[in-house]
Amino acid sequence: MSALSVVGGGGFGLALAHAALRGGHSVTLWSRRPIDERPAGLLTTSKLADVAASDLVLVAVPSSHVLDTARALGEHLEGRHLVVHVSRGLVGEGLHTVSHTLRHETAARRVGCLAGPLGAATLRDGLPGGGVIGTAFGEVADAVRTAIGGPALRLYETEDVLGVELASALVGLLALALGFAKELGYGPSTLSMLMTRGLAEVTRFGVACGADEATFHGMAGFGDLLAAAFGDERPEVLLGRSLARGQRAVDAAREAGAHVEGVQIAHRVSARARSLGVEMPISDAIAALVDGTIEAPRALETLMQRRVRRE
């Protein structure tokens, strides 16, 4: 039994706390807001300094809050801390990964990312599931397994942190496209084509950024995409649906639930792809949709009219 801290009192933060408590660990959870349904034994705090008491810190805040949270954590974290985040998304104009932000804003270096098809409910209830921990540090992966692992949870490990974080963020974009196409009433064959091509293009992007192709075909990429496709109605899918109904991005995001990362990164990913010389037609279409420069029905048409080449 050991101690760990969770930063963020949202669904995933609480699920992490549940899993760790089930393993008999002592858990301190930091949250801006009071927690209504607090699991038995959970210590809560509103002071980030309390988080630094344990060496393992799990960060579960939406990526739009990552920068502020990382800065605030920077006041307290030191070299002895192991920090693992579960945020899906990229930070700022520079499209920095969350772990990059954590490393730059805090003194912690042993950083990792937990991603893949692991849903909050699965984790909270101890149902069979799995994910992947991206970290260059074996001890980080070990610490996470010790903290939240259980008989029903398979946590794989890779050193390709960049790949895990990019895959995780970009699958969010694809989930948005998925919701969009679903709302327009397309069936399995259209959706499958869209997802397959989508995964291919985000993989291209990732490889151009220096990530490992295999990572996109694993838990963080393919695995997570399947979870979205099988219908866990995650916010990105809902957002895609709203956009397809012709709603403006801002309203759609509000309706789908707060902090939808897809809205914020579509445009930037598209621009970065251009400067890298990578073609990303689906991301371009999403960016155009979010910007409102293209009408919903036109988007898919544009995609279908592209010249067909060898696979």
Binding site: G74, G79, R80, A107, R109, G138, E139, E159
Partner: protein, 578 residues
């Protein structure tokens, strides 16, 4: 006759030492290297013990390790067919034959002998008398070390006079901080690497700036000149024989480097490994031996020794690179990427040296060494007191990085990960600490013009455009002027550094100085000017010098130049290893 000559050659490759009666003991306040000789035997023993322990911990049969090293050495010596082969090949062949029949104790002993043979070969020497001599020899020092028999006369003939050497080099950056830090921890200099001159130039710079001497690994080929060898060997350099591929040798080397840092010897490692073939500033750093410095910090911490390690990102910038032509040709040859040792480059040709020194008189300080702000092994900056400072300006305890649950631990995988991250950070720092010399800036503007004027051609097509592209001086003046302005802006923002000439000179002056510097220096003519028209005679050398600006190309491109700049940037990306 040939036997005598070969025996003599063999003798000369063994670095000479001066006889001494009493061991040198470092006086208080002197860097630890002054007491190196009394520790030398102990260090060799420690390296051997550690290598043995690691082999044992790996749990592989010792026979494998023994077999591997013997096979590698037999293969190498068979290929070498030189005096060393004649002397040692038989012994290795014998070992290869015997090792199958040895019992475990014999195998362990054989491995110990091999490790000891390697460690003794690697280990350097430090003779304070030689150091004092070298110090006194300044300002002739650098030249004397390089070409002692003829340099003074040459310098006289060339009209450079005794002040020459000091004029030749400019040092800048965090010198005051370094002078404070060397007593508080171990300095590990990690410079960019473009010439065989680098280690000598840096050694000289440290001496001139009253910084302690450093130990560093020098390629064995540099030891082939007995006089160079004498100075290098007696000033702390250890020998690295890149021809030896055996894993055991690399292990010995890395352990030696680590033990030296652990014991507080200020060190120098070239994190890019070999000289940059392309002229590009190194971007992917493997760190290699420098990684042992991270592990050294862990080992000390575990033992309860708190001696900080400070990495000093350093850039060594030349107006002209002695071996430029060979290096870039090597980069361009696909097969060249695997070639580690170039025996026959300009470094070994006396006439190149004379040309080099002659040119030096005409340029601004032709070598500028810039010392960046030191960082700890975990990428934190260091303050004047030598403390690690976190991103919020708070002092932090670096030993935490090598601890788990409050206890310091040894973890090679963890340290390897720290090392990789340090490599990335150093690459970023190299980009902002690089000092762009006038020759490089002018080459970039010229090469960019060439790219703009040859759309659709690939790199090799462009390199064949010898004498095909010409520009008027007016065109060039305007282009260079605008580029300089953007570069100066970048410098203001701290994104790069400029040499004094690049920072202050007007375009015309810059062009004249660079044209004069290029003229007659390299074998091939780079640039000619007739009636106000400049002709690009050798795109290859322009490429080499302009490669230093690749990281900034897109940021300093003017209207309509962005596609060319992107192409230049992409070309460097595609080039792979630098």
């Amino acid at each position: 006759m040939s036997k005598v000559a070969s025996a003599l050659r063999q003798l000369l490759t063994k670095p000479l030492r001066l006889p001494h009666l009493a061991p040198f003991v470092a006086e208080p306040g002197q860097p630890p290297i002054f007491g190196f000789n009394s520790e030398r035997g102990d260090i060799v023993r420690e390296v051997v013990t550690r290598v043995q322990a690691r082999l044992k911990a790996e749990g592989r049969p010792l026979e494998y390790a023994l077999n591997e090293v013997a096979i590698d050495e037999v293969r190498r010596l068979e290929g070498q067919r030189d005096d060393e082969a004649r002397l040692h090949l038989g012994r290795w062949r014998g070992l290869l034959k015997r090792c199958g029949r040895m019992n475990d104790a014999e195998k362990a002993e054989a491995l110990r002998e091999v490790s000891e043979h390697y460690a003794s070969d690697v280990a350097g020497n430090f003779d304070p008398r030689v150091y004092a001599m070298a110090t006194r020899a300044i300002p002739h020092g650098l030249s004397a070390i390089l070409k002692p028999s003829s340099v003074p006369a040459d310098l006289g003939r060339l009209g450079l006079g005794p002040v020459a050497v000091d004029e030749l080099m400019r040092t800048e950056g965090e010198l005051d901080l370094l002078r404070k830090l060397w007593t508080k921890g171990t300095l590990v200099f990690v410079p960019t690497h473009s010439s065989n001159l680098d280690s000598v130039a840096l050694g000289y710079a440290l001496m001139r700036e009253q910084l302690p001497p450093v130990v560093y690994g020098a390629g064995k080929n540099l030891f082939s000149n007995p006089i160079v060898s004498f100075f290098m060997h007696n000033l702390g350099a250890y020998r690295v024989d890149r021809r030896i591929r055996a894993a055991l040798y690399k292990d010995v080397l890395k352990t030696y480097a680590g033990v030296m840092v652990e014991r507080g010897y200020h060190s120098l490692f070239f994190p890019g490994g070999t000289r940059s073939r392309s002229g590009l500033v190194e971007r992917r750093l493997k760190l290699g031996l420098a990684g042992s410095a991270v592990e050294a910090f862990s080992r000390n911490t575990v033992r309860g020794v708190t001696r900080p390690v400070y990495f000093v990102p350093t850039t060594i910038n030349y107006s002209l690179v002695l071996e430029g032509e060979t290096l870039i040709e090597d980069w361009l040859k696909e097969s060249g990427k695997a070639r580690y040792i170039i025996e026959d480059d300009e470094f070994s040709q006396i006439e190149r040296w004379i040309a080099f020194f002659r040119k030096l008189g005409e340029m601004e300080a032709p070598c500028t060494i810039r010392f960046g702000r030191p960082i700890d092994p975990f990428g934190n900056v260091v303050d004047d007191e030598g403390r690690s400072i976190g991103p919020h300006g708070r002092p932090i305890d670096p030993t935490g990085y090598v601890s788990r649950e409050g206890r310091a631990t040894l973890d090679p995988r963890r340290d390897a990960a720290y090392t990789r991250e340090l490599g990335q950070l150093l690459a970023e720092r190299f980009e902002t600490e690089t000092v762009l010399m006038a020759t490089q800036v002018v080459s970039h503007v010229l090469f960019r013009a060439l790219v703009q004027r040859s759309p659709g051609l690939d790199l090799f097509g462009r390199l064949r455009l010898r004498g095909d592209v010409a520009l008027t001086r007016e065109e060039l003046r305007a282009d260079l002027g605008a580029t300089l302005e953007r570069l100066r802006e970048l410098e203001q923002r701290g994104a790069v550094r400029l040499s004094r000439l690049s920072r202050t000179a007007a375009p015309d002056e810059l062009l004249d100085r660079v044209a004069a510097a290029f003229s007659g220096y390299h074998e091939r003519t780079i640039l000619t000017e007739t009636n106000g028209t400049l002709t690009l005679e050798d795109p290859t050398m322009l490429l080499y010098y302009q490669n230093r600006l690749v990281a900034y190309a897109e940021r300093i491109a003017g209207d309509g130049q962005l596609p060319a700049a992107r192409e230049i940037a992409r070309l460097a990306r595609a080039g792979g290893a630098s």
